[in-house]
């Protein structure tokens, strides 16, 4: 069974293939085509907007089923932001909640057979993590100025090991966005590959 499929050019990586549905090349090689990745991201966005507009507008004191789910998601992310960043971080609660909903909807949509998961691509997850990294740096430098550089040299450390310590801290600082993006893409890709490999044994 599976050997027949392989002879027809089937590959485990077919599900991750990006198909250009509408070709858009405005300036030479600059490619902003509408792909299946775009379509599934827009579907996630549409579902997000639909879910929140159709079910939470009445704001009932005793919530229905959908409103309960929305309230649980909201309080989970609210508590997470508040516990880890205090009241100062609550300014950034809206973007955290949007990010969480965007990722969870895309991840769960991808589990439906014959769909596409945008988060399994490094381009999407690294795009998010590097944007967050740049945003954090902008916030930090606008708040602390060049004092932020003291991040790389913790107080109370002997000056003799400064070159070594600063090098290690720099590496760990720039490894943060890489690990953030890579973890998401690798986990989702691994899960989807596992599905295909197991299904080829049936």
């Amino acid at each position: 069974m599976s050997s027949d499929s392989f002879s027809k050019g089937f590959s485990y990586f077919d599900q991750f293939e990006i198909l250009r549905l509408v070709e858009v090349h405005p300036f030479g090689n600059f490619d902003i085509s509408i792909t299946n990745s775009t379509v599934f991201m827009l579907l996630a966005l549409g579902y997000f907007v639909f879910m929140f507009n159709s079910n939470s507008n009445d704001g009932a004191i005793i919530p229905g089923r959908y409103q309960s789910v929305i309230e649980i998601l909201y309080t989970t992310i609210y508590d997470m932001v508040k516990e880890n960043s205090g009241s100062e971080g609550l300014r950034y609660f809206p973007i955290m909640f949007t990010l969480f909903m965007f990722l969870i909807i895309m991840n769960l949509f991808g589990l439906i057979p014959y769909t596409f998961t945008p988060t399994s691509h490094g381009a999407v997850s690294f795009g998010l993590s590097i944007t967050i990294f740049i945003g954090c740096n902008i916030i930090a430098f606008s708040k602390h100025g060049l004092d932020y550089m003291s991040m790389f040299f913790p107080p109370g450390v002997h000056a003799g090991i400064a070159p070594f310590l600063v090098a290690v801290e720099l590496i760990s600082y720039f490894a943060k966005p890489v690990s953030l993006g890579l973890r998401l893409a690798a986990n989702i890709t691994a899960g989807h590959l596992l599905f295909v490999i197991l299904a080829s044994f049936i």
Binding site: M1, T76, I77, M80, V81, N84, S85, G86, E88, G89, Y92, M96, L99, F100, L103, I104, N107, L108, G110, L111, T119, L128, S129, I132, F133, C136, N137, I139, A140, K143, H144, D147, Y148, S150, M151, P154, P155, K176, L180, R183, L184, N187, I188, G191, L194, F195, L198, A199, F201, I202
Partner: protein, 52 residues
């Protein structure tokens, strides 16, 4: 598929059962990875507010 007296078809039920189990696992992974991404984002954001 029908060779070995249908044993291969019966043996195929085993990966099918695993596939169902992995689906449940992957729903958990999908939710946890989204949560972890947000958790680490807010931790990095907190580091940029407070110098240690």
């Amino acid at each position: 598929m029908v060779c070995a007296g249908g044993m291969v078809a019966v043996a195929g039920l085993f990966p099918l059962a695993i596939c169902f189990f992995i689906t449940v696992l992957e729903i958990g992974v999908a939710a946890i990875q989204a949560y972890v991404f947000c958790l680490l984002t807010i931790i990095y954001l907190n580091d940029s507010f407070h110098l240690h």
